[in-house]
Symmetry: C2
Subunit: 140 residues, 2 copies
Amino acid sequence: MNSFLQRLAAGGYRITPQRRLILEVLQQGARHQTAEDICASLQQKEPNISLGTVYRNLNILISLGLVTGVDFKDGRIRYELNDSHHHHLVCLNCGNTVEFPGCNLEETLGDIIGRTRFKITGHILEVFGYCRACQEPDGR
Amino acid sequence: MNSFLQRLAAGGYRITPQRRLILEVLQQGARHQTAEDICASLQQKEPNISLGTVYRNLNILISLGLVTGVDFKDGRIRYELNDSHHHHLVCLNCGNTVEFPGCNLEETLGDIIGRTRFKITGHILEVFGYCRACQEPDGR
DNA sequence: GCTATAATTAATAACCGTTCTTATTTAGGA
DNA sequence: TCCTAAATAAGAACGGTTATTAATTATAGC
Ligand SMILES: [Mn+2]
Ligand SMILES: [Mn+2]
Ligand SMILES: [Zn+2]
Ligand SMILES: [Zn+2]
């Protein structure tokens, strides 16, 4: 069985067709889909699936650490499997993104954070700009 | 005259009592206030000020680069004067924050970004965790 | 200083992504 | 196969933010 489904069950959650489909879309569909995107995909196979079900289960998956939500500053959350830690370069015009891995942020900030005695649980980092295709000749 | 007011005027905007007061609260009040916090402060001096006016003007101030909005993951935007570039350590329990300056993120990411040919306009970085007072003995 | 007028405001409705409610259905253990 | 707590579909509610509009006002030009 899919290891994501195993982890759902290990968390005390039931394996429902809706949850199988949500994980399927996250694994095989496009990256960085909104809840509505995901719901629309699911409805092709299962027309009666509800947007509320998608949100509820995405939040469960996030709480289990299987999924992460990212904010590209357009007013809606994008969801992706929580595989390898990375961040994004986001084009403010067309919305295209470039992922960049190799984040050493928490070690870089180690000294500053150490002095605060905070117990760190995570961080968000997104870089914004204009991709090559969206840059005007005048440099915007 | 206040240099922020000068920059407002230079941007083609009128100097209204409401705008004076908003800048006053941002300069002299607490950091990281929500629009509602700011509105409540203003209403002590000017009872009829409208929340819409606060939002509209905050967005103008942001577009002029005088103010920045930050997201502490509690569903509302916090506003602060755009003085020196910095980021935050945010306690997920009590909401307390620590600011840390000295961000060299864009030079650190220079190589990666350079290859993408993006024209960078900014970035967001927030670190989350639990402050010392909010950490349980068991380490949460 | 006055006036004309476009900018701004107060009040309030609308928006919209997300969460909540509830009656019904269902996954999974006994 | 049953039982029951968990999950779902449908749709209402929520809450932060934005849009609308009639009235007010800052300011440029005289
Ligand atoms: Mn990603
Ligand atoms: Mn700050
Ligand atoms: Zn990172
Ligand atoms: Zn920075």
